[in-house]
Amino acid sequence: MSRWLRGLLALGLVAMSTSAFAADAPVRGDVRRGWDAFISKACVRCHAIWGHGGEIGPDLGRTRAGGLTDAELAAAMWNHIPRMWDKKQEEGIPHVAISETEMADLFAYLSFVRALDEPGDPKTGQVLLKEKKCSTCHTVTDEGHGVAPDLRKWAKYRNPAVWAQVMFEHAGKMVEEMKARGITPPTLESADLVHIVSYVRSLSASSDSELLDPGDPVLGEKLFHERKCIQCHSIRGQGGNVGPDLGRRGWVTSFTDVTVKAWNRVGGMRNAMAQRKVEPPKLTPQEMAHIVSFLFASSYADPPGSAERGARLLKDKSCLQCHGAGIGPSLEDFRGRAGPVTVTQALWMHGPTMLERMRDLGIRWPSFTGEEMRDLAAALNEAQPQKGPGPDAPKK
């Protein structure tokens, strides 16, 4: 197989395996619109983001570390829904319709906010800058005469993607200089960089700040291939094997974490590139933001589910007790389009009725794991589920 063909195949596989967005929803979610929906659909009345909003439900900006895949989010919503409806009724919160597009937007928004970091502490950052020996070369005061640029010039950069871009661009020189001075490149934790950025920001002499548009994972994926990152790195096993697989589950916890992980391996990365005579890619900060966004999304992309297991679940969880049995609507509509977003949207729209009917019939509300949700979607996408009572079938 020619190298070109291998590349093309890898591209296709990566696109399939990493884009929960593309494989799942007919429309891709938009972060900004998702935020609008979060407000206008009154999610904010119950749920907070970063401590701002209602306190009835959990804070969706502070869910467990590492975030959730879309299927895991859909499963969490599914399992939570009976309590949610009851609470909404109790609080007199009206039920508002959410379209598929809006649900996709909400998923994109919730994924994005979980990738942001909490604000750093400038004082900790100041200590870290010294501890990690950054201040050996970089100056941050008028008195210093470091060999590396004055970090105050970077004060206008708050965005981790910009830091990633700047650090990546200067990595070669930085590594050489450190080598010459006998300094081991420092290893950073994600929070370290957050604190350091916060400290450098506090040294700002002006109100200038460089803001970026939220990264687009699809554009990031495209760039990842165009700039030949895929030659060394794989995404879930597809791509080069020189560097680590950047699509493995949960290898990053936030956008800053992507930057930190890249920094910690920058020496090895530069060597490997030099050996292969690969020029380091030139990226603008916004391009880096797209790539960072893609890598974060890849890390939380859902692998394909098993239609076979899904079909079994439909039976075992008593779904077919109603669907396809003349009580609930047919699940045929999901064929070819089922995914976390569509299932959640359908659940949102029909959940109250479904819950009421299930309670009438004495059927227990089934719960799903993220993996089961993926299997379920695979089954719904493939074939008409079989009819038949499940183990929880009510005794008439």
Binding site: I49, H52, G53, L116, R201, S209, L211, D213
Partner: protein, 799 residues
């Protein structure tokens, strides 16, 4: 219509406005509900004109809609005071039938004070000037715009041709672009005399802030996040430069917190609204607030409770101040002078320094008032002492709205000569005081022509007869007022402006958390009379003058200036159009993380959004940007000027001649305390019927002036509540009704402070601003003068 539906139809939606127009059918009940709004306009004329009959021209005034009509809600910004609250006007068949607060506007979030609710009265007021006026034969007579403009531009041209361009002065009461237009006009014409003509520190910082921090913009006070609020003087809740925003921040700092509500201490001579809302009210002698601040400072320093980190890193000249304060301001001496017990001073100083973030509010926050620059500096230095400068819960320096500035102005040799002359006003917050001093003999050349542009310098707070006398000496006076105020009455030409609901205007301001805000004022309805936008009139005058002046203002109309300027905001791609309250943390967190939360879209979309939603803001404050907050040459907070001023202003408070309470001059036994009222706040409230009627709640006395006396003083004078009295100071005499008030401090006569403005054609009754006529502007014994009234003494006699 059910009550539920009715309320829905009469209130603005909290959703983002998309279409601003809907048809409504009006029923009898609707009309009933409109009575407090539209009907109020003619109905309140009964109180406005009482006991005078309705004037004939009122017959042509607004009528209530009598049939189904088209309803439109239009966003704009209130102009009643400098607060900059967003409002939405309800228009039915081309008439304003009501206003409500704009729920998207971050300053007021849908709330309005009585002044905002009275906005339609400004438009439909019978005393409005209906067209240009030119003085002929000693009287102001109606003229055409061409005649009036030719009269002014001819004189200006003549002065310029005689190399006297610098003798033209412009007293400016505007902020934002209208102010920039005036600056461009003067720069091209050749006059250095752009004088701040507003009593509020809403467009230029107060002198204390300028001196200590070197800032060029006013400060925000982050009350919302403060744990301890210490207010000196009067009216921080009811009379600050943005009362609705302040009240909102107060509510958030108190009820808005589940635990750890902000503790509030208020020092004032009377039990005011602010005092009543505090945890502790401490009565003190008016005019001694600065000494009290230094007494508190003494205790903080003596016990080592100051924020050494802030002082060491960002302070300058601190040791000098420390030595003087520890030497001269012992709490015992301060107690004698202020009337505040020593134990209270000690206790409150400890609380203030330990419950951080703590913030001290003086007239630098409150606006016009009784405090000298030295007192304001002493109060503000308390903030630095506890590290509350450019810190959460402290005093912030809001960034500027990123509008594009007007193009740089070119001038010729004549203009350059004029600009090289010494200016009358140096952009100080008390510009009218500077003008007064200049006119009273301090100037090196005469002012030959004065343009009162969005300002009423003769009636401005603290003005009084002395200012009027001084300004009458100006040979040619031009007013741009919509009403026949004090200055307009004396003017040679009046070029009446639209009211704020009839014109385009930007309204740059900021929230209490220091977020920059750009409100957009738009014409709610067509101008009712033959009036013109003042900035456009300046451009017409410029064309009349010709040369570089004409070239400096080439635009078609003010809307064009505004649209050009806001392109800078759009290009910055920062912030957000006004949005629901929940949007604030989203935008803030996104920008703090370096992401753009912008919903600005294309420029056309941005402009449409600005107009529909009411404006733009950027809800982020970066505490790291100290260069914005500390703009002194040293880049530090300068304690030195305060030390020098303190030595000069309060020499030996603890040991010298100033020991003890301020002594009354012979024959004037009572200290005058002027206090603001929320309902009579701002610079355009004087002629508003509702506002005057609201005041009736104070003591069943509408359209009149009262003086509050403590019961012992009332007994000594032999007066009871309602008695007619004469209040007399060295400056003048006014008549008032006595009000015996348990919440008044003995030895102090308190009077409500109203805005300037003479009685109108229809509303002829006495107004509150008379009280300011008693005040002794610039006649304090302190070295650094300000427009202060804290050193005024009065005597009271039965009328």
């Amino acid at each position: 219509m059910s009550p539920k539906n009715r309320s829905k139809s009469l209130r603005p939606s909290t959703k983002t406005p998309k279409s601003t127009s809907d048809s409504v059918k009006l029923g009898r009940r609707d009309l009933f509900w409109m009575v407090p709004t539209a009907a109020a306009v003619p109905a309140l004329l009964s109180s406005c004109s009482r006991p005078d009959p309705l004037p004939p021209h009122w017959a042509s005034g607004p009528k209530l809609p009598s049939k189904a009509g088209k309803e439109t809600w239009v966003s704009s910004v209130c102009g009643g005071c400098p607060g900059g609250c967003g409002l939405r006007a309800r228009i039915v068949e081309g008439r304003i039938v009501g206003v409500a607060g704009n729920p998207l506007h971050p300053i007021n979030r849908g709330a309005l004070c009585p002044l905002g609710v009275s906005a339609p009265h400004v438009v439909y007021h019978p005393d409005r000037i209906r067209g240009p006026l030119v003085r002929r034969g000693g009287e102001l007579k109606a003229a055409t715009w061409d005649e009036a403009l030719a009269e002014v531009s001819g004189r200006m041209k003549d002065l310029r041709s005689r190399n006297l361009a610098h003798t033209v002065a412009l007293v400016d009461g505007n902020r934002g672009l209208a102010r920039e237009v005036a600056a461009a006009f003067l720069a091209a014409f050749g006059s250095p005399n752009h004088i701040h003509g507003r009593p509020w520190n809403d467009s230029v910082p107060g002198e204390a802030l300028k001196t200590l921090q070197g800032v060029t913009l006013p400060a925000a006070y982050d009350l919302e996040n403060a744990r301890y609020i210490m207010a000196f003087g009067s009216g921080w809740l009811e009379g600050s430069s943005s009362p609705v925003a302040t009240a909102r921040a107060y509510a958030l700092a108190r009820r808005g917190r589940k635990t750890d509500r902000a503790h509030v201490v208020h020092f004032e001579a009377r039990l005011s609204v602010s005092a009543a809302h505090a945890d502790e009210w401490v009565p003190l002698m008016p005019g001694t607030e600065g000494v009290l601040a230094l007494g508190l400072m003494h205790m903080i320093l003596r016990e080592g409770l100051e924020d050494r980190d802030f002082i060491d890193r960002w302070g300058n000249g601190f040791e000098f101040l420390r030595a003087i304060v520890l030497r001269d301001y012992h709490p015992d001496a301060v107690s004698e002078r202020t009337g505040v017990p020593t134990a209270t001073i000690i206790r409150l100083a400890r609380q203030f320094a330990s419950k951080r973030p703590a913030v001290a509010l003086g007239d630098e926050h409150n606006g016009p008032g009784a405090q000298t620059v030295e007192a304001r500096m002493a109060i503000h230095a308390l903030n630095a002492l506890v590290g509350s400068v450019n810190a959460p819960g402290g005093v912030l320096s809001p960034p500027q709205v990123p509008t594009d500035p007007l193009p740089t102005t070119e001038t010729d040799d004549t203009g350059k000569k004029g600009l090289a002359m010494a200016p009358v006003g140096g952009g100080r917050s008390d510009g009218v005081t500077e003008l007064l001093a200049w006119q009273e003999g301090g100037g090196s050349y005469p002012v030959n022509l004065l343009l009162a542009y969005g300002s009423d310098p003769m009636g401005v707070l603290g003005g009084g007869e002395r200012v009027r006398t001084a300004l009458r000496r100006v040979p040619f006076l031009v007013s741009f007022s919509s009403f026949l105020d004090d200055t307009a009455k004396q003017a040679d030409v009046v070029l009446p402006d639209h009211t704020y609901l009839e014109k385009w205007q930007d309204d740059p301001s900021f929230t209490t958390r220091g977020f920059p805000v750009l409100g957009i004022r738009q014409p709610i309805l067509k101008p009712r009379f033959d009036t013109r936008h003042s900035a456009e009139v300046l451009a017409e005058l410029a064309r009349g003058v010709g040369g570089p002046t004409a070239a400096a203002l080439p635009w078609k109309d003010f809307k064009e200036v505004l649209q050009t300027s806001v392109k800078g905001v759009h290009r910055s791609a920062r912030g957000s159009l006004f949005d629901v309250v929940e949007a604030e943390p989203w935008v803030e967190t996104m920008e703090r993380s370096g992401w753009r939360a912008s919903n600005l879209g294309s420029f056309d979309e941005f402009w449409a959004g600005l107009v529909a939603r009411g404006g733009w803001w950027d809800p982020i404050y970066d505490f790291g940007e100290r260069t914005r907050a500390l703009r002194t040459p040293s880049g530090r907070f300068e304690f030195g000027p305060l030390a020098k001023a303190v030595e000069k202003a309060f020499p030996g408070a603890g040991t010298g001649t100033e020991r003890g309470a301020p002594s009354a001059p012979s024959g004037f036994p009572l200290r005058l305390h002027l206090y603001p009222l929320l309902a009579a706040f701002g610079d355009s409230s004087a002629p508003l019927p509702w506002v005057q009627d609201v005041l009736g709640r104070e003591m069943e006395l509408q359209w009149g002036l009262w003086v509050e006396l403590a019961p012992p003083d009332a007994r000594t004078l032999g007066v009871t509540t309602g008695a007619k009295v004469q209040v007399e100071s060295a400056e003048g005499t006014v008549e008032a009704r006595a009000k015996v008030y348990e919440g008044a401090r003995p030895g102090v006569a308190s009077m409500p402070l109203g805005p300037g403005g003479a009685a109108g054609e229809v509303c002829k009754r006495a107004m509150l601003q008379q009280a300011s006529a008693l005040a002794a502007i610039s006649r304090t014994r302190n070295a650094m003068d300000g427009a202060v009234w804290g050193d005024t003494w009065v005597r009271i006699r039965k009328a």
